[in-house]
């Protein structure tokens, strides 16, 4: 069964701007799905429509088989949302925010507190339950929104840039949390500007641009479309002139760093062989750019040129 199916979804705002131009999209149950796109591409509008925060102009939304027009309450019961912006009452205690959200889903207060305790403990916020939300740090506020979104145990969790502005340690702990959640059966749709996040977490991907889906595929297939990869090599001893290797473009950045663009046909082993043969010892290496980021940028460029 599909967790989400969008059919010819269109949104025209009152000022005439067409944010979504009849998109079709499906997300399978249990998937960890990336919805990517530049700012203003239509991601937030699509999420807004799915979560009933924005009225659609036309088209259909189905969540686990429930039609948003015919049975909005069933659709809403299936979805948990972690929005981009903090959207809780900052002057309410942390525990109350989570418990009240459970109440809106009809969960009695005693059970709501039990669930709030469970999710707040998982996200290291239980000790803060009596504090006003405004006193939390940015990372804690993000985790509070996750706890709130999970309190009714949604089958589909939509995370709209959940790690924006949080430090790397918290981000990584959130990745682990999301992965565990997905492994337990929750379907997750993730939008993010950190493309390494999408690449490492998600199995399927859609890229939206100017209100249209421009790519909708398995993550590995999308990444396979990349024919070259760029690396930064830290080398011991730089020769006067750089060797020429077929399937590889090299550029000297400084006395110890080489930027190398390697075609997949050549491969890393042959690159190392070629460098060693020419007296260049590689001390360390790292990707210049995340692979998904390269594809994303190419796709956006192509889209811009065709427009």
């Amino acid at each position: 069964m599909n967790a989400l199916a969008l059919h010819t979804l269109q949104k025209i705002y009152s000022n005439g701007f067409e944010a979504l131009k009849g998109i079709d999209l499906t997300v399978a149950e249990g998937d960890f799905f990336a919805l990517l796109g530049p700012n203003g591409a239509g991601k937030s509008t699509a999420i807004g429509i799915i979560t009933s925060l924005v009225n659609k102009s036309s088209g259909h939304v189905r969540v686990f088989g429930h039609d948003l027009d015919l049975d909005p309450e069933a659709v809403k019961s299936c979805i948990g949302l972690v929005p981009q912006e903090f959207n809780f009452n900052q002057w309410e205690p942390v525990g109350e925010i989570v418990v009240n959200q459970a109440g809106y889903y009809g969960i009695p207060r005693k059970e709501a507190w039990r669930r709030a305790e469970e999710s707040l403990k998982q996200l290291d916020l239980w000790e803060k339950r009596s504090e006003m939300a405004i006193k939390l740090s940015g990372g804690m506020k993000r985790r509070l929104m996750i706890a709130r979104a999970l309190v009714h145990r949604p089958r589909l969790l939509i995370l709209d840039e959940p790690t924006a502005g949080v430090d790397i340690e918290i981000r990584r702990s959130m990745w682990t949390f999301m992965t565990n959640l997905n492994q337990q059966g929750t379907t997750i749709i993730l939008t993010t500007h950190y493309l390494e996040e999408a690449e490492s977490l998600c199995r399927n991907i859609a890229i939206i641009n100017q209100g249209r889906i421009v790519e909708h595929n398995r993550m590995d297939r999308v990444l396979h479309a990349l024919h070259t990869e760029s690396f930064l090599l830290n080398v011991g001893g730089m020769p006067e002139s750089l060797p020429e290797l077929e399937g590889c473009v090299m550029r000297r950045l400084d006395g110890q760093t080489l930027e190398v663009e390697v075609s997949h046909d050549l491969g890393i082993n042959k690159l190392f062989e070629g460098l060693t043969r020419n007296g260049i010892q590689v001390v360390s290496m790292r990707n210049k750019q995340n692979r998904l980021e390269q594809i994303f940028i190419k796709m956006m460029d192509a889209n811009r040129n065709s427009a």
Binding site: Y13, L53, N87, F88, E92, E96, Y104, I107
Partner: protein, 261 residues
């Protein structure tokens, strides 16, 4: 956890909204309950005792007794209205109205919860003001059931008004315009401090267009047993307003005016 029936879910959602609203104004009682009590005490001291003694009787009652129903109702009207307008507008402003919009809560429960919060504050303030009145007058209630009904219906009506104001408001200025320029004049000219029989005939007719007049008189009838208006008509007018504002509020929620997009 056992499967919850729809009625159970709705009841829990309603209780959640109304409890949240009561806690909200309860936490800041110095801003929400105390000011109308102080204002009413000042009215009693100035208009009741100092000026009232020179006015003498009105409709067969001492002036201070005559103005008690109007002053209580004025506090109820202002409190019910401002509770909903400020609470719902700030939920829009801080975007936490989204918590409700994404949840499976029907529009009528959302409206009922906010209006219930407004009524709760209206009742809290009404009780406080009534208790204060006992220090200045020998308050007696002629028709208990009627008094309570008008008290609650008026509170509902103005809570609905506050809700509609909050839906359309785009700034904090917008939520103070209606209370300042419409609600306060209507209340002052709604027979709180005088009987419309005192007015020239033309102004008596003009006064009949003021909905607050019907509520003040209906409430005065409950407490003192006198009214400038036929009480059946007063009740009808109140019910018509409540029905109209409820339907309008629900249509605003359904269309997502001011809260979606």
């Amino acid at each position: 956890m056992r499967e919850l029936s729809r009625v159970d879910r709705y009841r829990t959602a309603f209780q959640t909204i109304i409890t949240k609203e009561i806690l909200r104004f309860g936490r800041i009682w110095k801003q929400t309950v105390l000011p109308p009590v102080i204002t009413t005490v000042l009215y009693y001291v100035i208009f009741g005792n100092l000026i009232g003694e020179r006015i003498g009787e009105m409709d067969g009652y001492a002036y201070i007794d005559f103005i008690v129903p109007g002053l209580i109702l004025m506090a109820v009207i202002t409190s019910s209205y401002s509770n909903v307008v400020s609470s719902f507008f700030s939920s829009k402003y801080q975007h936490h109205v989204e918590e409700l919009l994404i949840s499976p809560v029907p529009d009528w429960i959302i409206l009922g919860g906010y209006v219930g919060g407004g009524v709760a504050r209206g009742v809290a303030v009404g009780i406080a003001v009534t208790l204060v009145s006992l220090f200045f007058t020998d308050l007696s209630i002629n028709h208990y059931g009627w008094t309570l009904m008008v008290f609650v219906l008026t509170s509902i009506l103005f809570a609905l008004g506050g809700f509609i104001n909050a839906v359309y408001a785009n700034s904090f200025d917008d939520i103070s315009i209606v209370p300042t320029f419409i609600l306060t004049p209507l209340t002052y000219l709604g027979g709180v401090f005088y009987s419309i029989q005192m007015l020239p005939e033309f102004w008596q007719y003009v006064s009949l267009a003021n909905p607050v007049l019907y509520m003040v008189n209906a409430f005065r009838y409950g407490l003192l047993g006198v009214s400038d208006i036929h009480i059946g008509l007063a009740l009808l007018i109140i019910l018509i307003f409540i029905t109209g504002l409820t339907l309008y509020s629900l249509s605003l929620l359904k269309r997502g005016v001011g809260i979606k997009n």
